[in-house]
Amino acid sequence: MRNRATTKLNKPKVRQSWSKWNLYNLQRFKLPFAVYRTHFQQKWDAKSAARAYHGEQVSEKQWTGMFSPRIRSVMPMDARKLAQDDGSLKSAGRGSGLFKTEEDALKEEQKQIPYSQMTFAPLERRLDVAIFRAMFASSARQARQFVIHGAVTVNGKPMRHPSYLLNPGDLFQVEPERVMYATGAPKDKVDRREIRLANKEAEEAKEKEAEAAEEAEGEAAEEAKENSVENPRKTLKLLLSQAKEIMSTDKKTLPAKRKQELRGFQKAVRRVLSRSESSTILTDSLESQFSQLTLLLRAREADKKNKDMEETQEKGEEAEKPKSKPESSADDAEATETGQQQLRDNLSEAFAMATQNKEVDMSELTRDEVQVLKRALVQMRDNPIDHSKPYATPWRPRDYMSAFATIPRYLEVNHNICAAVYLRHPVARPGYSEVPSPFSDSVGTMAFTWYLRRR
């Protein structure tokens, strides 16, 4: 299907898209001045403008078949008012109530139901439009592509028809990776360059590894020992400063700078964690990683006095040991190589040495600092730098996305898993229509009459 959804500047059309071209067209959109147009022309203008937005991917014939002059609407009911009056007050007198203030009448008039804005409500049932409305794709066209390419399931079963009409209660889900790609900022040339560099490094490392594998393993153990002797206090300070930099909401910090910090932080954390006894710590849960990190750096919260600290720390160490022992023993059972075991022994010895060193014990942290460290860790885990992704990492929303961000009430969306439930068909209620449409009332009315004509 050829994409006719162009965003021209000379004859602007508003589209279901988050592009900046579309945003510009949206803010300057104007229908031709009605005084110089015949009634037919006005209807034509309105209909063509509205159709360029609503279901542009649907052929006119298909749409005219979907159009329904019956529009769904609801009236919000107040239980208290229903309890006060069984309707006889309202029908009293000559049929319109005995007492009616002018205020009431004015209120009723102001809150009319915008039926004409609901002209294109049947299109909201389509799967591709619903995906766009749930903000899983940056345009209806992209949503359509996701469906065709098999990234969408309805009620857990793959659905490849973008024109599938959702029924109330249907749960649809898009692959989170696709959604991250669709809504994330694209890679810029700096990112692309970094990917190339990373690939190069990886290749070089591979070659080196192949060479190093032949050499003795004893050297590795020594290296590890050197690493562990590195002053933990200094490392912690560095980590903290980097974590603060990352979590700061200061606008002055440039994104590039923040990214650099994040990368440094990631490296530092990895370096510290690689000193841990458990070999699976790098892939472990966040909680265990954090506890390990604080344990390794002997960081504790400063809410207790120094006297208590030593005791509690000893206790803490003891408490930690039985926890970590089964893990390490399991690891030992798995690991057949004696070299690895030796390395682990060396490490634990080094840590035991470090615990006795009293200078290190003083590395206290305030509660806030611990929180900051933890949050930075969480963010690093949730939103990592990963060059293999098709979007700029760490993920950030694409430009101008917030100007289009809205989720209609007829959908219930869980963005964590990129799934949504189509609760009900969109309805109109007094003063409010649920179909997100960029056009004014008059356009809706004209378009409605255009399609009504052919019934």
């Binding site: 309890a83 006889s88 804005q117 659905m159 101008y400 100007a403 869980n414 409010y432 960029p438």
Partner: protein, 394 residues
């Protein structure tokens, strides 16, 4: 439209990969650039890409205007401010603070960007329904969230938990960004939710109420919603005894219908047979709330007793619904034969075809009825038959 490579910013990114000789010799629209590049280049009046032509390429003025707008008044739309909406209609006040608005489209004032459930509120709903075993109806009333939404939230959180167990990737940064951009209904453990998330007693406008009917009634008669419904569906007026009964205990008449929807009176014959339009007290999603308010009006001071009565009624309503569902399930099971061969991973569910006037139609040739019948052609393989599924069974 694909952006043209006339823009200097765009072409600049290509330049490192093109040798200078090829740039000069090629006849594409790549202009020769000064060595320094700056974003302000995009505004500069453009010359034609052809060196000897003085004709200005079309659309350039419009492009300039667009980029001018995007860098000027539209610049604030580029990035969102966490916790605030950032729409075309939101504007800055005197102090330069962004005032958020809910109108997302400047021309359509009838559409508002409404709030979505925050993570806390969603978890609270799940907690109440799944862990505390409260009914969907009760939770809906407590948290002012539509019943269908409550059910959907439970489904979605369940799915999320399953995905977490299976270590499937989640879109967490994306979810955080969306919740920063869109207004959210928050929930606090201590204070509860602030304003109600949405109206829970929405009455769908019924097709029968569309026509305007002139129906003369004597002024001495009380004409209420029940009567209006009967007039709309052209049913005869109620007997006086029935009217008196309803007036004596309004909730009983409502509960009779809500706990047993099959007992709604019908009018008309044959194809024209339809149910009598019920008053809005019955057709709203939470009819028990009306009874509660009525109780509060009658006995405004007996708070605890009112509460008790309300709880009783709610429980009765739920029991009736449960029973009805169980009955329907049993009936369905009765009609279905389940066969599972010993070494098969499939279960065959066999249902007898009922050939009756209801299923195959008056002449026995109904197109939607199952089975192959003599003289009824199957259009399944015919050209133009739409095969897109109309439902996906969970």
């Amino acid at each position: 439209m694909a952006p043209r490579i006339q823009n200097q910013v765009v072409s600049n990114s290509l330049l490192p990969y093109l040798s200078p000789s090829s740039t000069t010799s090629s006849s594409t629209c790549l202009p020769r650039l000064p060595s320094t590049s700056s974003p302000s280049l995009a505004y500069r009046p453009r010359q034609s890409c052809r060196s000897l032509s003085s004709t200005v390429a079309p659309q350039t003025r419009r492009r300039e205007e667009m980029f001018g707008w995007l860098h000027g008044p539209g610049a604030r739309l580029k990035n969102h401010v966490p916790g605030q909406t950032n729409y075309l209609t939101s504007f800055k006040d005197k102090d330069g603070n962004l005032l958020s608005s809910t109108k997302i489209f400047p021309q359509n004032l009838m559409y508002r960007s409404e709030s979505i459930l925050s993570e806390d509120l969603r978890n609270e709903i799940y907690d109440r329904v799944v862990r505390q075993k409260r009914s969907v109806r009760a939770v809906s009333v407590e948290l002012q969230v539509d019943m269908r939404r409550v059910a959907a939230v439970v489904r979605l959180v369940e799915l999320e938990n399953r995905m977490k167990e299976q270590d499937k990737p989640l879109a967490l940064p994306y979810a955080r960004a969306i919740h920063e951009m869109v207004p959210t209904s928050n929930y606090n453990k201590e204070y509860g939710s602030g304003r109600p998330h949405e109206g829970i007693n929405d009455l769908p406008v019924h097709r029968l109420t569309n026509p305007q009917i002139f129906y003369p009634v004597s002024e001495s008669r009380q004409f209420n919603r029940v009567d209006a419904g009967r007039v709309f569906s052209a049913a005869p007026a109620l007997e006086t005894s029935q009217v008196e009964e309803n007036a004596a205990d309004p909730y009983a008449s409502v509960a009779r219908i809500t706990q047993n929807p099959g007992s709604i009176e019908t009018v008309g014959k044959g194809d024209d047979e339809q149910q009598v339009l019920q008053p809005s007290d019955m057709r709203i999603p939470h009819p028990h709330l009306v009874a509660k308010e009525r109780q509060n009006i009658i006995n405004p001071n007996e708070f605890h007793k009112n509460r008790e009565i309300y709880n009783e009624r709610l429980a009765a309503e739920e029991n009736a619904t449960q029973e009805r569902k169980l009955k329907a399930e049993k009936r369905r099971e009765k009609q279905m034969l389940r066969v599972q061969p010993a070494d098969s991973r499939f279960e065959f569910r066999i249902k007898d075809v009922v050939v009756s006037k209801e299923t195959t139609g008056k002449d026995g040739r109904g197109a939607r009825a199952p089975g192959r019948r003599y003289g009824v052609p199957s259009y399944d393989r015919k050209r133009g038959q739409v095969k897109i599924p109309t439902r996906v069974v969970v």
